[in-house]
């Protein structure tokens, strides 16, 4: 039995090509039309891949045809774009994918959940048998080990997620945090949405244009505050996100210090993503105030990405060990085990819902 993988990803195919092949096929088609014994389809926004086990060689073109949006037309030279990995290379590729090493943002963990869902779908459909079962269970173990034993997932890599990480390191639980958004730009809206996804419920939006403030407040389920009154909020709020187009700083140490006198025991996290900056840098010197501008947020994101890249070698080492072990176990176990169950038992393979 041969294990192989055929697919497209952000590395070798543009989004137009990927969308031509993504989300149209069923594993059933790969099993029935292409002649595979087992098949699993992993389709995300960055990749579309088929992992399969077959007794005889299955041409890439046949798999590509199953994946194509319209199976009746010519593949227009797209077949050459597909990559193909066989045996140990296929195993290594899946382990790298599941561990986030092959992702656009190295170390992202969403792909592991997507791989688990894809496996569960194939198992439920009866398309994943003992080969793919072993392969994917091992891949999930490898991903977990890589995550635990390296720092490949450490730190946030986008401005919004860095801001949210910092907020959590200051306040812990964000549910009771009060947030004021000053100026309603795209980046600040994205940051607010990231905060909302972590539980922030009390949102206030202030903008020179009241209509825009109302619109953003409505979009994020917050309330609008008149621009003339935003400074009064500083005594109450925990997080301030500023992104106005003001040419001069709106907040200085002299202006903020008196407002903080009654909240000395509560930190204030200021995210200034405006250029030119809305908050004078000396504000950071105040006790309990943590000021981050766009450069400092970006620098942290880049630092995290660099750390993740440094961890690739350590992750590859773990993967290599598992590839060798897996190859050995396949050669020893599956090929000679006539009594082994054709499909994994439910207890063996069903994934905990929390893992999905």
């Amino acid at each position: 039995m041969n294990l192989f993988c055929v697919g497209l990803s952000h590395h070798n195919a543009d989004v137009e090509t990927r969308e031509y092949f993504a989300g149209h096929a069923e594993t059933d088609c790969v099993l029935r039309n292409a002649g595979c014994n087992e098949a699993l389809l992993l389709s995300t926004c960055n990749r579309v891949e088929v992992y399969a086990a077959a007794e005889s060689f299955v041409p890439t073109e046949q798999i590509a045809r199953c994946l194509a949006r319209t199976q009746t037309v010519e593949l227009d030279g797209h077949v050459e774009t597909f990559y193909r990995y066989e045996a140990a290379d296929c195993v290594r590729h899946l382990f790298r994918v599941a561990s986030g090493l092959d992702s656009m943002v190295v170390g992202e963990t969403e792909i592991l959940g997507q791989a688990k869902k894809a496996y569960e779908a194939a198992r439920t459909a009866g398309a994943a048998g003992r080969y793919l079962h072993r392969l994917f269970q091992r891949a999930f173990r490898v991903a977990k080990q890589v995550r635990t034993h390296t720092e490949i997932t450490r730190g946030a890599v986008s401005v919004g997620s860095v801001a949210v990480d910092l907020a959590q390191k200051i306040f812990g639980d964000l549910q009771n945090c009060k947030v004021l958004v000053l100026g309603a730009g795209e980046t600040s809206e994205r940051t607010v949405r990231a905060l909302v996804s972590r539980g922030v419920a009390d949102l206030r939006v202030s903008n020179r244009s009241p209509e825009r403030a109302e619109a953003v407040a409505f979009a994020v389920n917050g309330r609008a505050v008149a621009f003339e009154h935003w400074t009064e909020q500083c005594g109450e709020i925990d997080i301030l996100i500023t992104s106005t187009s003001s040419d001069v700083p709106l907040l200085s140490q002299e202006k903020l210090a008196p407002m903080l006198r009654h909240r000395i025991d509560r930190p204030l996290f200021i995210i200034d993503i405006a250029v030119p900056r809305d908050v004078a840098p000396d504000v950071n010197a105040l006790d309990g105030v943590y000021l981050y501008d766009i450069d400092s947020l970006q620098s942290i994101a880049e630092q995290s990405l660099a750390t993740r890249r440094e961890q690739i070698a350590a992750a590859e080492k773990i993967i290599s060990q598992h590839v060798a072990e897996f190859d050995e176990s396949i050669a020893r176990g599956l090929n000679c085990s006539a009594q082994a169950p054709e499909h994994p038992t439910v207890g063996e393979s069903s994934l905990r819902s929390s893992e999905l």
């Binding site: 390191k169 200051i170 306040f171 812990g172 009654h262 000395i264 400092s296």
Partner: protein, 232 residues
Amino acid sequence: MRFNFFAVGLGFIFQTAFLSIRGHVLGRCPITNLFEVIVFVAWSVALFYMVVGPAYRLSLMGAFTAPLVVLLQLFALFALVDQPHHGRLPANPWLEFHASISLVAYGAFALACIAGVMYLVQERQLKTHHLHSIFYHLPPLTDLFAAITRLLWWGFALYTLGLVSGFFVGEPLPWMQISCAIGVWCLYGLILQGRYLRWFAPKRVAALCIIGFSAALTLLWGITFTAQTHTP
């Protein structure tokens, strides 16, 4: 965190065994010389960590607690402060209660000091924007500050109990000992007062916990030296 907890837990079991054997030999609570006092303080630190660590879910607290316990134990072992006892010492339940409860309070103050160190490390990284590996493992600032406050309260309440019980020992205590004890009580009372009246920002409270514990340890030394000439 689990490893730290079990490491401190294992040490705690050995300390408990040692203290109970020594207590059995002495026929009283084993805090009769500087060696025993330091071991008892180290035991109290471990005890508080076992109680507080899981309850407050403060990751890495064990990693900070274990070195302090080890340092205290090493000092007790190598500073040659285990003076031999001349005969069995008479038991005085009030004096033993007074001394032991005060030393347990030191355990709470020690953990408040550790939480203070963790707070300052985390705060510094957030202020300077230089995030090191430890940043991702340390707990959030507000959680640390909440832990500091609770530990200060625990320590202060126990110390007050120890101080009050000192009036019932039935024999005069050296004035130096009384002054040191009242000094430590006033110091921690001031920190708590300052925290609630918002005289001090959290960063200063954290720094004061470190200064306070260093001062309290020094005074404990003084108290123990004076007490050695006065041990019942």
